[in-house]
């Protein structure tokens, strides 16, 4: 196999990786103009021995969201292949709407809708409270990412929602949006 370039996403950034020598044990890649060579020996399904410049690491990895969750030296990386169309790491903030580029307000965690502050058709300002999600006995407020109009509400108070389920569809009012 010759040289090959793959793109991976971690912490919101795409990084191309040139794979130079995909031999079973010694692995050489070029990342950001740095060439790294490591000896890798799989120990079990989730565990690898990695040797780099004489330093030994035990690496743990599982498949996650089409990519991998990797434990290395006390750090945990979620790395996704870029061509899968998925984003690497979720954005900070309770609402993932911007990550997906649509107007769907999703549940940031599984839980119960404790209180809805808005009605369908209502105008809301940016940062206005939309609903309270109760999970693990804590209340978590979900706010509007931008100003807009509530198009549709998919759940009522006291209903249970799973992680990532769309709770509210919004139409944004600014012209730069896709409203």
């Amino acid at each position: 196999m010759g040289d090959m370039v793959k793109k991976y996403r971690y912490a919101g950034e795409d990084t191309p990786i040139e794979i130079r020598n995909p031999s079973p044990e010694t692995f050489t890649v070029t990342i950001e103009n740095h060439t790294l060579t490591a000896r890798i020996e799989p120990i079990s399904a989730q565990r690898l021995k990695l040797e780099h410049q004489g330093n030994i690491f035990t690496v743990y990895a599982i498949p996650k969201d089409g990519g991998y969750q990797i434990f290395l030296d006390g750090h945990v990386f979620t790395i996704l292949p870029r061509d899968s169309g998925k984003t690497g790491v979720k954005e900070a903030g309770p609402v993932r709407q911007e990550t997906f580029g649509d107007n769907l307000i999703e549940a940031p965690m599984p839980g119960r809708i404790l209180k809805l502050f808005v009605r369908e058709g209502q105008r809301v300002a940016a940062e206005e409270r939309l609903f309270i999600l109760e999970a693990m006995k804590m209340e978590n407020e979900v706010r509007a990412p931008r100003a807009g109009v509530i198009k549709k509400i998919h759940f009522g108070e006291n209903q249970l929602v799973s992680l990532g389920q769309t709770v509210i569809e919004m139409v944004f009012l600014e012209s730069d949006g896709d409203s």
């Binding site: 692995f27 990342i31 990895a61 990519g67 969750q69």
Partner: protein, 515 residues
């Protein structure tokens, strides 16, 4: 293998003896396992209870017997008093240990256990009801000469009355649940406009968590330390303290790192606070293990906060520095035994730190992170203790408090203990969900933490909007590993049966056994 059974027998003040041969643990997770361990060491048989989703949970597997008590929602299982008492009677237990959370500080449950002839491992229902009512507790300890934070002295519900009180106390103000604990129902209010919405949210959270929506107001003290004192009180009038724990590192009013001793206390203040804690427990008529929480302001004035009428999450820190097993002492005290040591015999040694490992995402406001634990490997080594309730393949659900495990270390002094904790956390592998482990490693390495300049808003001050900052080489090696895994024909998505480790008999080959 047949194990020898014994029991714990004590004599109470009134002369009646109690024998505990079998004990039911009305809890789950790491604390249920901790209590089971103590019971087994005392020769007491253990009965676990579990909800439908916890059928294979470690606490069930650890116990001698187990009783299913209902569906996953806590109100139908771990909070279901009827079902738990029935299970205890059915299995002929003499005692119930409530752990922390759930029914641990429910005076009604303690009362019902007593009425049913079951020993409740904790304080009596009267003391529990008294300290459980934060307002009454404030009044009682103030009468005993213990300093309290200025605030509401009565329960008011009328909006105008509360506003008047708020004006008198002066902003910023802290809203707290009268039945509270664990940060639930708590809100900081900085001006009158925020008061009403914060009261409403506080009441709702208090109602959901404790079934009582009473909240009260206290003056909010800026940059305080949270310092608490562990107390043991037997049924013969002996009360001792086991020194302090500093628990200032908190997020959302919940502790995540605890240590003992506190750098903020000198021997004089340590002794004063210890004796004050004993006086609090005497004033409220408390028996068994309990904690008196104080706020310590930057000028080293301390104020009574509340009594935690239970074994606490952070109890191992005290166990490490005193060498005293608090859970075994709880059981012995409840059986009526007198304390086996005097105050002078309790000597702290070295330094202990605990880190709580919650199922939560430090990059996303510490919101709960839920899912399947695909891989778990716990830290080990000299001076490292890991109390956990998890296993690979376990589903972390939203039904229960998101604590997965606690890592506790002991070393000769604080600096060594911090280094040991960083080492321990760097070995702790949990894959499948997000955990605060990388965050905790960075926090322990922070210069202000190392200097011991702690206060309860430490995280907001130094770590808001935290993102992991792995070194360049480590980050690139992680990419290398991802590329390596992709280059393998089937990556690491090995079919389930290949995860199995072959038995030595399968890998042994053609060997002959010589007898």
């Amino acid at each position: 293998m047949k194990r020898t059974r014994s029991s714990v027998t004590g004599r109470s003040l009134r002369g009646s003896t109690h024998r505990i041969e079998r004990l039911l643990i009305a809890n789950r997770g790491e604390i249920a396992r901790r209590v089971i361990q103590a019971c087994k060491e005392l020769g007491i048989e253990t009965v676990a209870v579990y909800s439908e989703v916890d059928r294979h949970a470690p606490h069930v597997l650890d116990a001698d017997r187990a009783v299913e008590i209902g569906p996953a929602p806590p109100t139908e299982s771990y909070l279901n008093m009827d079902r738990i008492i029935e299970a205890a009677k059915q299995t002929r237990c003499q005692a119930i240990h409530p752990g922390y959370g759930f029914l641990a500080e429910n005076a009604e449950f303690a009362r019902r256990c007593k009425a049913e002839g079951l020993i409740f491992i904790g304080p009596g229902p009267e003391a529990m009801a008294l300290v459980g009512d934060k307002l009454k507790a404030r009044q009682t300890v103030a009468t005993a000469g213990v300093p309290i934070i200025p605030g509401m002295e009565s329960r008011a519900t009328d909006a105008a009355a509360i506003q008047a009180i708020a004006d008198e106390i002066g902003f910023p103000i802290m809203i707290k649940a009268a039945a509270g604990g664990g940060g639930k129902g708590m809100r900081i209010v900085r001006d009158m406009q925020e008061l009403q919405p914060a009261l409403e949210a506080g009441r709702r959270e208090a109602q959901a968590a404790f079934g009582d929506d009473t909240v009260y107001l206290e003056k909010f003290i800026e940059r305080p330390r949270h310092v608490e004192v562990q107390v043991l009180a037997d049924q013969h009038g002996n009360v001792v303290h086991l020194f302090e724990r500093e628990c200032s590192i908190q997020r959302r009013h919940q502790k995540i790192i605890e240590e003992s001793p506190s750098l903020a206390l000198d021997d004089t203040l340590r002794q004063t606070m210890g004796l004050t804690a004993c006086r609090v427990m005497q004033a409220v008529g408390y028996t068994n293990a309990g904690t008196v929480e104080f706020l310590l302001d930057p000028d080293k004035n301390f104020y009574f906060l509340e009594v935690n009428a239970r074994i606490q999450v952070e109890h191992p820190v005290t166990e490490m520095v005193t060498g005293i097993d608090l859970v075994k002492q709880q059981i012995r005290i409840a059986a009526g035994e007198p304390l086996p040591f005097s105050q002078a015999q309790i000597q702290p040694k070295g330094h202990a730190i605990e880190c709580r490992i919650y199922a939560e995402d430090p990059e996303n406001q510490f919101l709960p992170s839920i899912g399947k634990l695909e891989y778990v490997q716990e830290p080990q080594g000299a001076g490292i203790r890991c109390d956990s309730g998890i296993y690979p393949g376990m589903e972390v659900t939203h039904y229960y408090d998101p604590i997965l495990a606690k890592v506790v270390v002991w070393d000769e002094h604080r600096e060594a203990a911090i280094a040991k904790m960083i080492h321990a956390l760097s070995q702790y592998v949990i894959l499948g969900i997000q955990t605060p482990i990388p965050f905790l490693i960075e926090l322990l390495s922070h210069s202000e933490f190392r200097k011991g300049n702690l206060h309860t808003h430490f995280l907001e001050e130094h770590f808001s909007g935290w993102k992991p900052k792995p070194g360049e080489t480590i980050r690139r090696l992680a990419f290398l590993v991802a590329a390596y895994l992709d280059s393998r024909p089937r990556g690491i998505a090995v079919p389930a049966e290949e995860h199995r480790i072959p038995t030595p008999w399968e890998t042994l080959g053609n060997w002959e056994m010589l007898v």
